[in-house]
Amino acid sequence: MRYCLGMKLGYTIIYVADVPKTVAFYETAFGLTQRFIHESDLYAEMETGGTVLSFAGNEAAEMSGLAIIPNDPTGPAAGWEICFVTDDVSAAYEHAVANGCSPVSGPSDKPWGQTVSFVRDLNGCIVEIASPIALAS
């Protein structure tokens, strides 16, 4: 039996070493805009529509009693990613790499009709840049 708990995905929150620096990076590399930053500089939100992309300081995790592996651009990435969708994957990928992202794999066309590419951000997090995919009717 499935219970309806009324859950919806509200936030994706990435713990980072430096919140303002990460916000600035995402504005430059991915063209997002900041919609909120707390005066402590330990939390910020980007203007990303219905599901908010947020950055929180690593210390915020510690204050919440969480134990995390801090993101590390010099090591393997954590096992998850965020994906930005755009019609012009090549241009977005080039722009991201030209503005500080580390290239991982350039745009490639997939058999299911999608163009995908991967970069890593300043903190070493995986960011996918992909074309929209039409759901089968």
């Binding site: 690593n58 009693g65 134990a67 801090p70 590390d72």
Partner: protein, 240 residues
């Protein structure tokens, strides 16, 4: 104060007992410089200097017993103990012994014992240049609740495990592993005491292999078992 901020400054604290009792001081790998006295007595305050602690100890007190102390940040241990840092763990110097290590404490008596004067007396043990790799390692240990292994910590801090261990021991006075185990213990204790997690769940989230593994850590660092956590923990209270 955020957890990171509290690790990067010396913490001054004081406490006066309003009734007779005792409390169990849990080790957190940091050093303390303390004056102990009684507000109803004219006896001179007794200076006490502790090495980085890895063992719990009990303090008994009477009405009026007071402490004024400074808890060093983890990276300051060597600035206090100098070349004796290698043998400083769990070492406690009282009275004349404390004065031998820190002659500056002799200037402080009943009338001059204030936080400001203590701060001034201890000016010279502030470490000038803390290796940024050590700061980064300490942050990573606390962020991961002591669960990152030494090779991962070394990679994160940009040096070899061997070098990291040396820097850590020379400054903190404990091995990286022991310090991480203390952090892991405190987090598991917090999960049980404050988040009210069942012991098995706290063991899992805290990174212990099983209930027995967590129990061994609690015995070693707290002297108690997880199902019988004493009420009289961690006094004198430090600023959190």
């Amino acid at each position: 104060m955020t957890p990171k901020a509290s690790r990067s400054v010396e913490a001054y604290w004081s406490f006066t007992a309003s009734k007779t009792g005792n409390s169990l001081i849990l080790p957190d790998g940091r050093c303390d410089i303390i004056f102990r006295y009684n507000i109803q007595s004219t006896d001179a305050p007794i200076p006490v200097v502790t090495g980085p602690a890895t063992q719990p100890y009990t303090v008994e007190y009477d009405v009026g017993d007071s402490w004024l102390g400074m808890r060093l940040r983890p990276s300051s241990s060597a600035a206090l103990w100098q070349s004796n840092i290698v043998n400083a763990a769990n070492n406690v110097l009282r009275g004349p012994q404390a004065l031998t290590l820190l002659p500056e404490l002799a200037a402080l008596n009943h009338s001059s014992l204030t936080q400001t004067n203590l701060e001034q007396a201890l000016e010279m043990i502030r470490p000038r240049n803390v290796d940024p790799r050590l700061t980064r390692t300490l942050d990573a240990i606390h962020l991961s609740g002591g669960r990152m292994r030494i090779d991962k910590l070394a990679q994160f801090s940009g040096c070899s495990a061997r070098h990291l261990n040396r820097v850590f021991q020379c400054n903190v006075g404990l091995t990286t592993k022991t310090y991480a185990q203390l952090v892991q213990f405190h987090r598991a204790l917090k999960l049980i005491r404050h988040e009210h997690l069942p012991i098995t769940d706290a063991a899992f989230e805290g990174g212990y292999a099983d209930h027995a593994h967590l129990t061994r850590a609690f015995r070693r660092y707290g002297g108690f078992i997880p199902s019988e956590i004493p009420e009289n923990l961690s006094l004198p209270i430090l600023p959190s």
